[in-house]
């Protein structure tokens, strides 16, 4: 039986931010396949929320609750869509378009796993059109659990796209292939730090006060 060697992956760090228990990391990656040069980004976010998973989960599972204010809109409550799909867009009136995400698994108050099948366009989610598509645009895992009354939340997120094919791929450097990913990556950094995490914490805090 023949085996196919895994492509060699090159990494380029985008940012690594540590603020106590809040950690955000992003690095670009590239690899070459017969179809051309693939590039993308892996983004990791760790943070804590003052509350139990039972208190956090109703908001964590509903990305609209804590991401709408930063300009991301989802066509459903992700934590209730196991086995189904959803759309992420940056326009609240554009939720009827193609779904870019499948919900592979939901374990209540514990885990969400998302994957993105190869689409017809190069929309990797949120109307970020990067490269040519042609490979899975992403895979994402979310974990949460309680330690000492606080919930530790971890996101591991990967996006990718074929950046060039044929002779254009041969001529493109790996560094050049990562450049189109800088907009999404830096926007995500600001959204998580200034919007998503503070908003999720605020929602949980408000719910605890009103309980």
């Amino acid at each position: 039986m023949s085996t196919v060697a895994a492509p060699e992956i090159s990494y380029f760090e985008a940012y690594s931010d540590v603020d106590g228990e809040e950690k955000m990391k992003a690095r670009y990656f590239t690899y070459r396949i017969p179809e051309g040069l693939v590039a993308g980004v892996r983004m990791t976010v760790h943070f804590t929320v003052d509350g139990t998973p039972k208190e956090v989960w109703p908001f964590l599972k509903d990305f609209n609750a804590w991401q709408n204010s930063s300009g991301y809109y989802y066509s459903g409550v992700i934590g209730e869509l196991e086995g189904k799909s959803f759309r992420l867009t940056d326009d609240a009136d554009d939720l009827d378009g193609p779904h870019q995400y499948q919900v592979a698994k939901v374990l209540d108050e514990y885990v969400i796993v998302l994957f993105q099948p190869i689409g017809e366009s190069n929309d990797v989610g949120g109307n970020w059109t990067i490269g040519q598509g042609g490979v899975s645009p992403g895979f994402h895992i979310v974990g949460c659990d309680e330690f000492d009354g606080r919930t530790y939340v971890t996101f591991h997120m990967e996006h990718a796209s074929l950046m060039a094919s044929g002779e254009a791929a041969d001529a493109m450097t790996e560094e050049e292939a990562t450049v189109p990913w800088e907009g999404l990556t830096m926007a995500a950094r600001a959204k998580w730090r200034d919007g998503f995490i503070p908003t999720l914490r605020q929602l949980v805090a408000d719910a605890r006060r009103n309980a």
Partner: protein, 162 residues
Amino acid sequence: MTVHFTLDGTRKEAWPFVKDFNAWQNSEGYYYDSVIGDQEGGSFRLSTDPNDFEGSPSYDVIKVIPEYVIVVSQPIPEGAYGGKDWSIGQGGVSAGFHIVGLDQFGDKTIVTFHMEHASLVGNEGEDVTESWRPMTEEAARKWREGLIPNMKRLVAEARRNA
């Protein structure tokens, strides 16, 4: 069962060991029939007997992103949960789902495991959690005293010998 821990090493240094559960779990009596991080789309068998790899694979490797993510799912077993060593309940539901994430901050790698096991157990009114207590308590000890120290030592040794 959730486990978070930190390794003194880069993700590149940690990954060869994280992806190969045999490397850090054999000493605690867990044996795998292959390197999990090389099995995306395949399946593997976990046994407490290194000579018992002939049974049905009980784990499916859903996704591997090198140096970053492993996702493993367990289909509904034909019999009780877990094969001959951990027979809990009647089976009848997916026996488990597990995600592993890792990433590097500074020169340390933070590793997270989120692991769920399940089986149809008991009747209404019974304390069904009793069925899971021995495996859970043993896992806590294995992780604390064996699995995590083993992995830290392997990465440290690899760094010294690099």
